[in-house]
């Protein structure tokens, strides 16, 4: 089953990351992902980090989505 929630990298040690998913700590291999840094968010599948979430992209797509749904005014989005 896919773990849908992104996990925060809290520690990196010899190609293994310690990740935090809603307070639960787990290990994830970094063999499938380059350039991961502490503090970044990754998607983890079966013990491997497979994608690094780009905060900027995430925020932009959320804003596009809200605009498309014609819901929130600009001021609220910017905060």
């Amino acid at each position: 089953m896919c773990l849908a929630i992104p996990s925060r990298v809290v520690e990196i040690n010899a190609g293994m990351a310690t990740i935090d998913v809603d307070g639960v700590k787990r290990e994830a291999s970094l063999l499938l992902l380059e350039d991961v840094k502490i503090g970044e968010y990754v998607i983890v599948h079966a013990g491997f980090a497979i994608h690094k979430i780009d905060e900027k992209d995430a925020l932009e797509s959320l804003q596009c989505l809200k605009k498309a749904a014609a819901l929130v005014d600009q001021k609220e989005e910017d905060q």
Partner: protein, 362 residues
């Protein structure tokens, strides 16, 4: 600490707006397939089926890895567990899947060494710690899981672990979509494409399929807002009559996907023809282990005798996986077949459509 903005993807106001939008653009009846088992569960958990207009029907697809695994392969895992000195290391979902004669769970109760692991890497570790045993990992899953198993095999090779083996039943999603499109009985107006398969193969992974069939396709994330957005985009495409391959999960899926994972996967595996439960053999839809990893290929290493495969009697999993029947249309659903006492794999796996209906359908 949850990721910033995650809450917003669960925002019920935004969800409501999206539902309104879908209601405005819906025209005629639409049959949309959510290919991925994790989507099936998210859709139920968020109650999406009940808030959508009646004109939109969601069908669960062949994206539950355990469910589409052919009975022959399930039987092979069970037979392997009976070999002396073998330790089977597996994801938990496989334990209770009924094979023709038994299940891994039953074999474990009979004293076989079968251990549940969270990652293929754990299996490699078990092999390193047990040099006198042969550790077999049943490889079940799609493009998301295949690179993790490939990486574990590469590690085992580097560590010169001669006692680590994989039995590959790994499968690829785009060839399965093609197979669905060519089946007479299957009627689908658009696909909600799996989020984490797409993380690996990217938007590009579906391009050849899309170019061939020109059917609306949208990649979706797993939060309620993600799924509703994907449905709104599909409904929009169907209204304009211009099919597109679109990405509604931009924060996780890129155009090219995870190239490194793709490379690792293709270093170890190559496409082969394999059988899917409910669909039959699909050309080039499986991942076989390449010659240079033959030392870690359980199929080549062990000579096992398989019983004539027999699917569970009366089980409609096959049709459920291609969207031609719903669990509610299976006579065994809920009265004979329950998650406590499952007849078929669609009730065993937490991602299976029958298990999702059982848990969430009132």
């Amino acid at each position: 600490m949850p990721i910033k903005h995650l809450e917003e993807y669960r925002d019920s106001d935004l969800s409501r707006q999206l539902v309104e939008k879908i209601k405005r653009i819906r025209s005629k009846k639409l049959r949309l397939m959510e290919v991925c088992g994790t989507h099936t569960v998210s859709i139920f958990r968020a109650g999406i089926r009940s808030i959508l207009p009646d004109t939109i029907k969601l069908l669960s697809g062949p994206g539950c890895p355990v469910c589409v695994t052919d009975q022959r392969e399930i039987d092979a895992f069970i037979e392997l567990s009976k070999i002396d000195d073998v330790i089977i290391t597996t994801f938990g979902d496989l334990m209770r899947v009924p094979g023709t004669l038994a299940s891994l769970q039953k074999e474990r109760a009979d004293g076989r060494d079968i251990r549940i692991v969270y990652s293929a890497m754990d299996a490699v570790e078990i092999a390193a710690k047990n040099p006198n045993k042969k550790v077999v990992f049943p490889g079940v899953g799609f493009e998301t899981t295949a690179p993790t198993i490939a990486a574990a095999m590469i590690s085992a090779k580097k560590m010169q672990l001669e006692n680590f083996f994989v039995y590959s039943a790994l499968k690829l999603i785009p060839p399965a979509l093609e197979a669905l499109m060519s089946m007479e009985a299957v009627k689908i107006d658009g696909f909600i494409l799996p989020g984490h398969v797409s993380v690996i193969i990217g938007l590009n992974g579906y391009q050849p399929f899309f170019d061939k069939y020109k059917i609306p396709c949208v990649i979706s994330g797993f939060e309620p807002v993600d799924i509703l957005q994907a449905i709104a985009m599909l409904a929009g495409q169907l209204k304009t009559g211009i099919p597109k391959l679109e990405n509604a999960y931009v924060r996780a899926v890129t155009i090219a996907g995870n190239r490194r994972a793709q490379e690792i996967m293709m270093n170890v595996f190559q496409p082969v023809d394999v059988a899917w439960r409910g669909i039959g053999t699909i050309p080039q839809s499986g991942l076989g282990i390449r010659e240079n990893y033959i030392a870690h290929n359980a199929e080549a290493k062990f000579d096992i005798k398989l019983p004539d495969p027999e699917d569970p009697k009366g089980c409609a999993c096959g049709q459920i996986l291609i969207g031609t029947r719903s669990p509610l249309e299976c006579p065994l659903y809920k009265n004979v077949c329950t998650p406590m006492d499952p007849v078929g794999p669609c009730m065993v796996s937490s991602e299976g459509a029958c298990a999702a209906y059982y848990r969430y359908h009132s």
